[in-house]
């Protein structure tokens, strides 16, 4: 308690917080946390952690079950009703396994890395609103641990620090596969984090805030996924890349990298990496729900019933969870449908498509919003003008010549007979070179010819 009080003094001393508004609610934040006390915070924090752990156990079961159905097999169905206790059994088994620390490992970093991963992944839900204010033990409090004007920035920061878990885990193992897996994973996560954070800019422009409760309350009439559909699509693609899930699960490409960055980990340390991965999946789904899908707000026909009755009290938790699990189902669906990309295709897609498109989208939204807010033009005029611009752009694109054949760069084939075994081990031919006919094929052809020859000879002998 004294530690908390000390921290409070410290933070206020640094003027990290904006001045509070007269109503008691913080400036720039829609939810009112003024009645919360330490016990409410502790309760909410514990509930969040328990919620995350339970969700992960259910998500693993759900994934195996749904993928099983998609592949026409039952999936886990032995432990507990519908196999629900399967993931709990797996977790207990991991807890009871030997905790191996490999000889070459950098001991301290090796042990701390999985803790960093799981610690950072648990932080995101602090600012995710489950619902509006409710009565809890006689106190009116929002269903959200805390909120501040830079909440989404905090989410991205927590996700970025979580990457340290992966990079340090792979590096400290001092082994080839984990090192390659971790640099791959890091490059992937940071590349897709860019397009992810760029896609959020347009939401901030429309909502005028980075506070999660404020963004949810700005979606009263319209969920941002509809007007900002391109941004939503970019976010959904990059959230799959960010969480290392299929079709982007290259860090754990089993055929290439064994277990990726977690190869040298066992027991609970491995479990923490696994847990962090699934928590991150839930985190990005929750952020998508909050920023694009109206957060805890009921979907349209239900929200109109009885003067918004379903948007008050505990009902919103239901809508939030429905949206969250719909997105998790989407993750599982992708896994059951798509194949893994090659690494170069993946990086090309991220850097050459997602980032330019999301940058262009930010400029488009800013321009349209700017014209709407700072000039006297109506939305109709803007849309007509945009249509004209698109038509002109399409017309101009026809004038640009077709892409020419790519230049053949690199080595030029040396003249002479190609010898595949010149360097001591077989190499494929360069462009322009042809392989000499294989000896085996020559022998096979000779054998066939001799068989037919003897055949005809025999026939002739018979006839004769």
């Amino acid at each position: 308690m004294s530690l908390v009080a000390l921290a409070t003094q410290h933070l206020t001393g640094l003027h990290l917080v904006a001045a509070t508004s007269p109503s008691g609610a913080q400036a720039g934040v829609a939810a009112d946390f003024s009645h919360d006390n330490f016990w409410i915070w502790l309760l909410k924090a514990v509930v969040i952690v328990i919620f995350m752990l339970t969700s992960v156990l259910i998500a693993i079961w759900f994934e195996r079950r749904v993928v099983g159905r998609m592949q026409l097999r039952p999936g886990p169905n032995v432990h507990g009703p519908f196999g629900l206790l399967q993931s709990l059994a797996d977790a207990m088994k991991l807890l009871l396994k030997e905790d191996v620390t490999v000889k070459a490992a950098d001991k301290i970093v090796y042990i701390v890395a999985p803790m960093i991963a799981v610690f950072c992944s648990l932080l995101t839900f602090a600012v995710i609103p489950f619902g509006p204010s409710v009565h809890l033990f006689g106190i009116v409090t929002p269903l959200q641990l805390t909120d501040f004007p830079v909440a989404v920035l905090y989410i991205l920061a927590a996700a970025s620090v979580g990457v340290y878990g992966i990079v340090l885990g792979g590096w400290s193992s001092n082994s080839t596969y984990p090192l390659l897996g971790s640099v791959r994973s890091t490059a992937q996560v940071i590349s897709y984090e860019l397009s992810m954070s760029l896609s959020l800019v347009s939401v901030f422009v429309l909502a005028g805030s980075m506070s999660t409760s404020q963004i949810v309350s700005s979606q009263r009439s319209l969920w941002w996924a509809l007007p900002l559909l391109p941004a939503f699509v970019i976010y959904v693609i990059s959230m799959v890349g960010e969480t290392n899930r299929l079709p982007f699960d290259l860090p754990e490409a089993e055929g290439e990298l064994v277990g990726g960055y977690a190869t040298e980990y066992s027991s609970m340390k491995f479990a923490w990496f696994f847990l962090a991965e699934y928590i991150n999946m839930i985190n990005v789904s929750a952020v998508a729900t909050t920023l694009f899908l109206g957060g805890w707000r009921a979907p349209w026909p239900i929200s109109a019933i009885n003067d918004g009755m379903f948007n008050t009290g505990w009902w919103p938790v239901l809508w939030f969870l429905v949206k969250l699990w719909a997105l998790i189902f989407f993750f599982v669906w992708l896994r059951g449908t798509l194949l893994r990309l090659r690494y170069d295709q993946f990086m090309k897609f991220g850097w050459k498509l997602l980032i330019p498109v999301s940058l262009g989208w930010v400029v488009c939204v800013a321009a349209v919003q700017g014209v709407r807010q700072f000039s006297s033009l109506t939305l109709q005029t803007i849309l007509v003008a945009l249509g004209v611009v698109v038509i002109v752009a399409v017309a101009v694109s026809y004038l640009i010549p077709e892409k020419t054949e790519p230049r053949t760069t690199g080595k030029v084939a040396p003249p002479g007979v190609f010898d595949a075994f010149a360097d001591g081990y077989p190499v494929p031919p360069l462009p322009g070179q042809t392989l000499p006919p294989s000896p085996r094929r020559a022998r096979a052809a000779a054998a066939v010819a001799s068989v037919t020859d003897t055949g005809t000879e025999a026939q002739e002998v018979q006839r004769g």
């Binding site: 909410k44 952690v49 799981v118 610690f119 590349s191 901030f204 040298e264 340390k269 090309k348």
Partner: protein, 119 residues
């Protein structure tokens, strides 16, 4: 009420979980010594010897990290502008589009020089 204090409470709970799990498995789990188990895993062959202080990895990842920093800083500049979009009005809009154009020039340069090619 300071909104960052609940964060410290959650951090405390998360840290207890993260430490507790690893600690519990270290106490509960068995310990059976086996020399091969403590070697680096490389599909059963003799592990490749590594340089002290980490192995080597392709330079391309370093390039990605550098490009990432440029764009991440760009994003960090975009966020406050997006939040105060209405207050900054036309000045902010024009300035930010100018900034984006300036960032796009090195992006195109790196693209043309093959900075995003993987082979």
């Amino acid at each position: 009420m300071n909104p960052y204090v609940p964060l410290l409470v959650l951090m405390g709970v998360a840290a207890v979980l993260a430490l507790g799990g690893v600690g519990a498995s270290a106490i509960i789990g068995p310990r059976r010594y086996n020399r091969a188990k403590l070697e680096a895993y490389e599909c059963g062959i003799q592990p490749t010897p590594h340089a002290v202080g980490g192995g080597r990895f392709p330079i391309k990842y370093y390039l990605v990290a550098m490009t990432f920093i440029v764009f991440d800083i760009e994003v960090v500049f975009l966020y406050p502008w997006a939040v105060s979009f209405a207050d900054l009005a036309v000045f902010g809009l024009v300035a930010m589009i100018g900034f984006l154009v300036l960032i796009t020039v090195p992006f195109v340069y790196e693209w043309r020089r093959g900075g995003f090619e993987w082979d």
